[in-house]
Point group: D2
Chain length 364, copies 4
């Protein structure tokens, strides 16, 4: 059994291997009459696109998205939207040396254990290339959510170097190659990653996604909680090893009175004095910003030899010579944003219904 779909009412099915002819997705459940063109999806793909700086893989894919169905005269029709990106820059020969051996930390061996066969070229189905389709689907999800909901992501930690949250600037995020909200941290990260890259190594990172303007009431007890669906979505991104919401793991160290978010009414509007909860109580959004962080492990594809075995079980050292990201966490930022957008769009449709209720914004 394979499981290449997620979502209930806004449902995304992705397909494609890293070095096949194309990758794609089907977005099912998008409401009708939403203006949609390829140009409205492309900018989000460009943010994730590789080959844009020396800190991301040099595989240079234009990642041009095509809409094959579900849109008529520039508007969605309520029927499934098929999106396709052709793979153009496949240098499969790079991977010939790993056809018969397992890269430690990679899914190679797991796919062989499960299926007894794998498309080894570039990681095949397990390649992070699949996340391009998440970003494309996320672009559609954002259109469903409308302008009053903003979903933004940032890189808040590379290795043990964390940003200073007092210097947080969303404008800064757009200006640097790291999606870093702390301008003073940027040169430090540049030096640090340069060093790691030159050593043929890689490093982990932490990403934070913030959704603002989310209306109260999204999420459904008990097994459709908004936070548990977000956790599943983020953990499904390649290389993610942990997810936390609001105070997250720090909540373990707090007392009840420290972690409470006192409630008051301000100018006729429900308000909270703090947001330890990260915008979700009992699995349901409260109207506060939703804060999620996830940890990405260092890329397993490194130039430093790793002890491993070949498919016969013989010991061998594996060096991954392909084009890879020294910090795969950087490109995970737009992916995390897209997953948040998809989950929110799904819960929004579940909460409000789709037809007749759809408006240009979530708040009317």
């Amino acid at each position: 059994m394979s499981c290449n779909s997620f979502g209930t009412l806004f449902r995304v099915t992705t397909w494609g291997e890293s070095h096949g002819p194309a990758i794609g997705c089907v977005v099912d459940g998008c409401p009708p009459q939403i203006p949609l063109t390829e140009e409205m999806i492309q900018p989000w793909l460009n943010l994730r696109r590789p080959g844009q700086s020396k800190f991301t893989t040099s595989r240079n894919e234009p990642d041009r998205v095509k809409i094959l169905s579900g849109v008529f005269e520039g508007k969605t029709t309520g029927t499934p939207i098929s999106l396709l990106i052709e793979n153009t820059n496949q240098r499969s020969k790079d991977y010939s040396n790993i056809a018969q051996s397992y890269r430690p930390g990679h899914a190679d061996i797991a796919y062989d254990l499960k299926y007894g066969i794998r498309d080894y070229r570039g990681g095949g189905r397990s390649s992070a290339r699949e996340t391009a389709m998440r970003v494309a689907a996320g672009a559609i999800a954002r259109l469903i959510l409308g302008d009053q909901i903003t979903i933004r992501g940032a890189l808040v930690q590379i290795g043990d170097r964390k940003i200073n949250r007092d210097r947080w600037s969303w404008d800064e995020v757009k200006k640097n190659e790291f999606f870093c909200p702390d301008g003073e941290m940027v040169p430090q990260w540049q030096d640090y990653l340069n060093c790691i890259r030159k050593q043929g190594s890689s490093i982990g990172a932490v990403i934070e996604i913030v959704a603002e303007g989310v209306p109260a009431g999204l999420g459904a007890p008990i097994y459709g909680k908004l936070d548990s669906d977000i956790a599943q979505a983020m953990m499904s991104i390649n290389a993610v090893k942990g997810v936390e919401i609001g105070e997250g793991f720090n909540a373990a160290t707090l007392r009840g009175e420290e972690n409470a978010d006192p409630i008051y009414v301000n100018d006729g509007k429900l308000s909270f004095s703090s947001n330890h909860a990260g915008g979700i109580l009992g699995g349901i959004s409260t109207g506060q910003p939703i804060n999620v962080r996830f940890a990405v492990k260092p890329t397993s594809s490194i130039l430093i030899p790793q002890p491993s075995i070949d498919s016969e079980g013989n010991a061998t050292d594996v060096i991954t010579k392909g084009r890879h990201d020294p910090c795969v966490g950087i490109r995970a930022v737009p992916v995390g944003e897209a997953m948040m957008a998809c989950i929110l769009a799904d819960h929004w449709l579940r909460h409000r219904g789709q037809i007749g209720q759809f408006r240009s914004s979530i708040l009317d």
Copy 2:
């Protein structure tokens, strides 16, 4: 839309409110011919049962489980298993003072925002009492998995007091009231929690669940990954704010060569030199132990007044006088084990099929 089911082939649906006549669940998809009696479920419920020490709520529920269907002459028949626990010790009057006001950090206000109505008695549907049914379902899941898979949990941190992992003993876990694997930490935690309890406060905790003997191949790319399903499952437990697998958030600080798990063959058996991955690669189990940790926030129900509002929006101070756990994380240990068992049973059935393939153990 409510979502009170989880799992695909092994599917659990829970129902019931804290102070209604009963709580229950339907376990659908259990293979036939598995010996099952109420006595095989009860011990797991007893581990979660409240009223057993001064560190858990004094609500004393016998939590006697009844099997209402799906079992014939002591064996499962393949039809849905209905389990029911009557609520006997409901002291609803304790909650009369919170009928009209919202406890900060609780789901009260979220349910009202979503549904415009809530059963306020003891938290109603959002009460952790629901987790009793997860434990009951988990007991059945364990029977599906068989003896060669062990799923064990432990409390590894209360507040900022972490156990010493060098002193880890599974035997010790069974001996103390904290599920603590570090015997020397137990008296410290006792003093610490006594102090917190006397202050009418509460404290967070971290739980670790370890599954050993899990065969390789469980989990399905891309949106049925074993780790993302585990993350969703753990995050769905009341008060959980973070989930991590293997190195988890620490992976962000590691280099590729530090985080790699070298592969070798030992005595004809696939082996790994380390387990930073936590037993899962590409969303698929590798045969290594699966290590998961989750953080539980401090109980929101405390005796220290919290600023809040009533249902009219007027400011009020809320004190929760009901019977509550100073550290709700303690009782989350058997719940986390149960969720792990349910997720593994579901993926095991997905992987191997159910009929004809079911054996007393997963490894034959």
Copy 3:
């Protein structure tokens, strides 16, 4: 794998065996704030209840439904509604003779082939007793749909004796023991069924369900079509062998111009000159009445010996001595109505959303 749930947003899970301690269901996804008491469900159960005439099984079950969750102070809360009916009149000894042999036409042998075990008492899980829970769930579905949708069923054929449709009277349906809309047919059917009953035989029937007031737009292409979901629902009822919508099988004999339903506007309202389509085009409701018919085979449980085998494979003659219906189709009428109600409620919630949009009627 068992599959004891149906519906997407309005989701019903049933459990229980004919001669177990109880049967029940969980209704998940019912919108909040709908007035609901046991007294609002009971009348529908009474219509299906056995033991009411000599033409239905003499098993006399009071079929008292209990609500165990999801309702607070007389209103639904949006959480799962657990319903339970205790089995009180189990005469299991009636079935002792079929414990080791297979009744031809019954599910006995199929369950054994699939599961290798079966609760043989009264058919166990395969008993039509399960349909009581469908009726109970249907009663809730009706409350979601509101007063402007009417769902009514009738028996239109027993054996080869069809009613005269020109004499159709819904009032008549309520007056006789057959749910027969043709008063002149009633005495004929009485004589006919008396004869069959005395011979220890049974006979098939055709049921028609009509839903009026259904708004346009329910149903979703391509695999969530309203008619295909209705077909699945009706075919899931015990003993049903065929389902048709609108003209049904007769459509095969018609020409395009005969089968077309011309469209016009009458008094500002969309209208159709005929309803060959049965109210559904392209899987989507058009606002016309939905007409569905399904055929029920004769009860397999008869007093006339049938050649069969025992569980060892030895030839044996089977006579079913239990209490059975000579025409099980009669009691299928309220079940068919209930399935229609459940499917419509599910599609209605899918179409309009649940929260904020719920009204006392579907048409505002």
Copy 4:
């Protein structure tokens, strides 16, 4: 909400409009290591392909299928299989006259009622062109089922002209343009359809699908019954108005002893003296052949003017000038076969599991 997927473990998602750039599907859950090439799918598509005789639409589409993912070195990998067929022969101008008016009996008006927008070219999403992808998916399903299961379909009735079942020949089915199993009926149908075609009219039909070699045990009570899933699948095919299994509607006229299928053991093998049940008891396959019939209404697209309205509500006469089938039931035969194959493959995977258990045939 749109619902463009069906199946649980073998899951097919289709997309595409009649006159968009392409149509396609994603087949998720196909087991690994099955030999698969485009050439193994194409012959089935050719059977359904239009433009092959004067009795089917003259739209001449080569319907060349491309595999875009999920296959590596000629074998399935367990990852999703993306299939695509480019639309090449779109004569959209044919449909310009129906852009603003509703064809009676067509889905046009239903889509507008539901979505407020529709791709009117050739029926858009509601076109029977979508069924090409069902046939493609069915070809893969057949590979999963293996050689010992045969799934064959035939046209058994056009208008009121039924075949003589005594002359049934599967060989004959392959020889004529009607999939007719009764050679003597072929010239009659030719004359009849010629006459209807010349009148610019259309006619309905009945299709029968027979699956032989299906192992016992497929299908799951209560809401995953094999027959109810088949009913849903067949009813989802364009223009289908009725589905019946085994005796079907005729069962209503039979007595219990007439409809029973006596059981015996023949040469150590479970056998039945008859097959009124159509191979399914209690929703579970018994090993007997599965017989299903479905009725297809006459094509709504005819040259005879039909009273209708335009999108402003003004009265108008509609003539459909596009290229259409006088008897759309003919091309429904391979579609019905494909749906049967998909449903059986899904239930087979549910029943036996996918990995490790997959064999070249279902019977080992």
